[in-house]
């Protein structure tokens, strides 16, 4: 086998020495690429080269052979990196499989189904930056079907730590589903859970809303979350849904105010995470204007379609190089 390699390599090398054509180099590179797939290390290639040269020139000065020996010796260092790389690739692959499983679990944990309601059009989209999502949108209808509640949540940080933290937030929300459904109260309880059980370096922003389906009143509160957008169709104006609540998990006892707005026909509300508004090279106010423009231009579409339009337009604007998890939630009367 080694003999075979030497014969083939010598052939390609002597062809190049004789003709010095591009195709000889091309064949040479392809040949070495094949060898690499068989785990032939760089020092092995130098050794094969040395032997080939010694056969091509039977009167090769001894000192040139020594020079090749020296080259073999120093190439062993690159050979080490080459092997290290191969074992790192195996590790990477194991990790990839592990993260795929973790992502599947997370998707299952964070899964929320959009309730189908006659009188209200609901859209949502949550796209993680990496595999695991540090954003979460959770949405449920109370048993009596009189209220729809939703939480749009963003964990500060990304990847596995954010995912771990998010699964905890989701659990807290699920427990609260059965409890008092006042946004102020929900945020206060969530804050206590997170403050108690999560590391000090982990903060969570959340926008919590409760929609009264009989009277079309949205009651909302925010814990350090990106302000929502409210579009009033009657005068085609946009308004910020602002609320100065502290991030969840900073202090144990925090009060969160809540506010009401009345939705009329064709009004809509956009809740999003900062991954939507933080557009590369664009100042936040300007980017909120861009989002207003996109939603306005597509206001005749369904809530879900508007979510998708915002995502695709912003992706294009940033050359598909988003820098954060992206979550948008739209309620349209």
């Amino acid at each position: 086998m080694v003999q075979q390699l030497l014969i083939q390599y010598k052939q390609i090398l002597s062809d190049y020495i004789a003709n010095r054509q591009e195709q000889n180099l091309y064949v040479g590179q392809n040949y070495v690429r094949q060898l690499m797939k068989k785990n032939v290390a760089p020092e092995d290639v130098i050794n094969i080269h040395k032997k080939a040269i010694e056969e091509i020139y039977d009167d090769l000065p001894e000192k040139l052979s020594y020079a090749y020996e020296f080259l073999i010796e120093v190439m062993v260092q690159f050979g080490l990196k080459f092997r290290e790389h191969q074992s790192l690739l195996i590790k990477q692959e194991e990790l990839r499989i592990e993260m795929d499983i973790a992502t599947r679990i997370q998707n299952h944990l964070l899964k929320t189904t959009v309730p189908q309601i006659e009188s209200l059009d609901i859209g949502m989209l949550s796209i993680p930056l990496r595999q695991m999502n540090g954003d979460c949108v959770y949405c449920f209808l109370y048993d009596k079907k009189d209220y729809l509640s939703f939480a749009v949540t963003d964990v500060v940080g990304k990847g596995v730590p954010a995912a771990l933290c998010m699964s905890m937030v989701k659990n807290g929300l699920e427990t609260l589903e059965y409890a008092n459904n006042n946004p102020s109260h929900v945020l206060e309880v969530l804050n206590r859970i997170i403050e108690k059980s999560v590391d000090d370096s982990m903060f969570v922003s959340s926008f919590y809303g409760r929609y009264d389906l009989a009277n079309d009143v949205l009651t909302y509160g925010s814990a350090g979350h990106e302000p929502g957008l409210y579009f009033r169709a009657s005068d085609e104006s946009f308004h910020d849904l602002e609320s100065k609540g502290l991030l969840l998990g900073v202090l144990p006892e925090v009060k969160y105010p809540q506010f009401d707005i009345q939705l009329k026909e064709n009004d809509f509300v956009v809740i999003m995470t900062d991954g939507v508004t933080e557009i590369r090279d664009i100042e936040v106010n300007e980017s909120r204007n861009i989002i207003k423009e996109i939603t306005y231009l597509h206001r005749h579409l369904s809530a879900q379609e508007i979510c998708e339009k915002v995502y695709s337009e912003l992706q294009k604007l940033q050359d598909y190089a988003m820098k954060d998890d992206f979550t948008i939630f739209i309620l349209k009367k």
Binding site: E22, Q23, L25, Y26, Q29, L89, Q92, Y320, A321
Partner: protein
């Protein structure tokens, strides 16, 4: 100075032709033998991608310069009207998958700048540059 060499990529021989032109131009710009080999390798990967996945396409080679920064360089553009790349991010990632775009991260490492635009079903355009600081 703005002369552009265009090579149609239809057969494996065209890959070799593209490499040969790239090496010659790189040499005339003043790149040393190692950089010539890197540029030839990069253009070979781009051409192979066209040959394997788009079947037909062109490669353009151009000399470029930036007098302000006292730089000269080579620019290579690979264009095809093949299937396109749906997820450009995955192709630029460290472990790009087998198949279309397999050699792209390597090309990026051999050159200085890379820019990809692609539309699924319409084709792909990859532009790479490599710069040389003038004495």
């Amino acid at each position: 100075m703005t002369e552009i060499i265009t090579i149609d990529i239809k057969t494996e021989w065209d890959i070799i032709t593209a490499r040969q032109f790239a090496r010659k131009i790189a040499k005339s710009i003043g790149f040393d033998v190692v950089d010539q080999a890197r540029i030839a390798t990069a253009i070979g990967e781009l051409a192979k991608n066209i040959f394997l996945y788009a079947e037909i396409g062109q490669i353009e080679i151009e000399k470029i310069d930036n007098e302000d920064l006292n730089l000269k360089g080579i620019c290579i553009i690979a264009k095809d009207s093949g299937p396109g790349i749906a997820d450009i991010k995955s192709v630029l990632g460290e472990n790009s998958p087998e198949g279309i775009g397999a050699g792209i991260p390597g090309v990026k490492r051999l050159m200085d700048n890379m820019d990809i635009t692609s539309e699924v079903g319409r084709g792909t355009k990859i532009r790479v540059e490599k710069w040389l600081r003038m004495g």
